[in-house]
């Protein structure tokens, strides 16, 4: 235990050095934080089960996986370095990215690199995570190949590969692969997998694991309405997320996250879209699923939450209308007038310092 703690500290030390040397601005591109299409939920569906965290091996590779887990559940350790709000990855990816239908890391890892028609560009897994930092975390993404992106990729890979090996009855530890391989993601013919797994499943099958993303729900019977959504929010959400949507901190930790305002995800995050939020909420809220919202309630409350001001879309070059036309009008409220104000015109700063 002690030795692994020392290794971790040493790793942290090198992170700091890396960050100071890193001055290159993050490349901007028209990333829409597009969700991965999910497969329809079926009642008898079984899902990939990642191995227990206690199975993470000792050694340098295991340390990367462990660091990935630690960054995922306590992303605030990167506050002011790469993170500009009070969120942690685990807020939207339940069970530390392990849970099916809560956009599990294992589902995403095997779905990247992904070609995006809209951008005519192939995004690697680390580029997708960079998007999370730039938008969901309202921060500044770590550089390609940085220890943080390697660690998060290693954690995602380890979760997915271990689960797939177990399904294919392949015993033994998850094969260690290089950092360069890790950050690319697994949806490619040259991705190294055990031979038995390559025979058992095609790349395409591995890229479409059941439980990936947030399961879609049918369109609402009535057009979604923030007004009705407010009543849903008051009844089912505000005990944890606060009357004002600003979450609740205990001992400085927002385990109950802010949903709008300066400390939440920005206007470029996938979750700002009403459909994405509705899918997430219907499947994963109220936390621990003590009751089930109707489809209509999920759409309405998603509309209520996402029709509040939040941090600016980092792709906005100074003109809300222009940014709206280029990146929005997509089941979302950016540039839309709510209560007499155009959302996006009074947005909060991108990547503000906490202290």
């Amino acid at each position: 235990m002690k030795s692994s703690a020392i290794v971790l500290l040493a790793a942290m030390g090198s992170l700091t050095v890396q960050a100071q040397a890193e001055t290159e601005p993050v490349q901007e591109r028209p990333d829409k934080q597009a969700p991965l299409p999910s497969s329809p939920k079926m009642s008898d569906q079984t899902y990939l089960t990642p191995r227990s965290l206690s199975a993470i091996p000792e050694g340098a590779f295991g340390d990367k996986v462990r660091l990935g887990y630690q960054l995922f559940v306590n992303t605030q350790q990167l506050r002011d370095k790469y993170v500009g709000n009070e969120l942690n990855c685990v807020n939207c990816h339940m069970d530390a990215g392990r849970k099916a239908n809560a956009s599990p890391l294992w589902g995403a890892y095997f779905a990247y690199p992904a070609y995006r028609k809209k951008d005519d560009k192939v995004s690697s897994f680390e580029e997708r995570i960079q998007g999370c930092f730039n938008y969901s975390m309202n921060g500044k993404a770590p550089a390609s190949g940085s220890p943080e992106l390697v660690a998060l990729s290693a954690y995602a890979y380890w979760l997915g590969m271990g689960g797939l090996m177990d399904e294919a009855n392949i015993s033994g530890p998850v094969p260690e692969i290089s950092d360069a391989e890790l950050v690319k993601g697994a949806k490619r013919d040259d991705f190294p997998v055990p031979e038995a797994l390559a025979k058992a499943m095609t790349v395409e099958q591995r890229a479409n694991l059941p439980g990936r993303g947030y399961p879609e729900i049918p369109k609402p019977e009535q057009a979604y309405s923030p007004e009705r959504g407010k009543a849903v929010y008051v009844a089912h959400c505000q005990t944890c997320h606060g009357v004002d949507g600003q979450g609740q901190a205990i001992a400085g930790v927002y385990a109950l996250p802010p949903l709008w305002g300066p400390q939440s995800y920005n206007w470029g995050a996938g979750m700002h879209r009403v459909n994405t939020a509705a899918f997430f909420i219907h499947e994963n809220m109220p936390f621990g699923k003590s009751m089930q919202l109707t489809n209509q309630q999920a759409w309405d409350v998603a509309a209520y939450i996402n029709s509040h001001e939040r941090p600016q879309d980092p792709r906005n070059k100074g003109d809300v209308k222009q940014a709206q036309d280029k990146y929005h009008n997509d089941s979302d409220y950016y540039g839309v007038t709510v209560d007499g104000k155009v959302l996006g015109t009074d947005s909060y700063p991108v990547f503000p310092k906490k202290s």
């Binding site: 306590n74 069970d95 205990i250 001992a251 930790v253 621990g288 003590s290």
Partner: protein, 206 residues
């Protein structure tokens, strides 16, 4: 030796004066109707096991809600229900503020991720839950180390016997008042062994 004792005595006395002065300046006082509470909960709300749980350090918001839950019959307890009826009007918030302001031992918050794996089942449930059963981590709502805040009670340092009876009360339906049955849903998934383990875990957090 005697001198040393004297110095220690003076130091403690000085500290005592300081804290009592500091409290009398800022701390709320207990209204007359609240005098009843201290026979079971202690003068500083430190709790008297097994008569009454610790109230010190619980949030005002939580305490007010509990008194109202006893009054409304959401919490069934032969002793506390009539006691709660004694408190009416603004004395409810005064009593709550008084006990909330009482000091409790400092517990160092353990953040998520400080441990990746746990040998202790209770610690694992507290920090990682068991999602195969849709059981979230306790610390998600109760905060790091169960320090509590708002409507979520502090668990750190609470009596183990009390935490246990409450989890059982949630299971039995004799304690209600949670939104959407969230706490009942969690409690109902716990085994009796897990309840025992969790009660001891939180009670003994330092």
């Amino acid at each position: 030796m005697k001198i040393v004792r004297f110095i220690i005595g003076v130091a403690f006395f000085g500290a005592y004066i300081n804290t009592t002065q500091a409290q009398s300046d800022t701390a709320p006082s207990l209204p007359p109707s609240g005098q009843l509470c201290i026979s079971c909960h202690g003068a500083q709300g430190q709790g008297m096991e097994p008569l009454g749980p610790r109230l010190a350090g619980l949030s005002t918001e939580y305490l007010v809600k509990q008194i109202s839950d006893f009054q409304a019959g959401h919490r069934l307890n032969a002793t506390m229900q009539p006691m709660a009826m004694v408190l009416q009007g603004e004395s409810v918030s005064q009593v709550a503020a008084y006990f909330s302001a009482q000091t409790v031992p400092v517990v160092t918050a353990e953040l998520r991720g400080q441990h990746v794996t746990f040998t202790d089942t209770a610690a694992r449930l507290a920090y990682q839950g068991d999602w195969a059963r849709e059981l979230p981590a306790c610390v998600t709502c109760h905060g790091p180390s169960g320090l509590g805040g708002g409507l979520f009670p502090r668990l750190a340092g609470q009596q183990a016997s009390y935490i246990k009876t409450q989890l059982q009360a949630w299971q039995a339906g004799t304690r209600k008042g949670d939104v959407d049955g969230m706490m009942a849903s969690v409690a109902n998934k716990l085994t009796i062994a897990e309840i025992d383990a969790l009660a001891n875990y939180f009670a003994n957090l330092k």
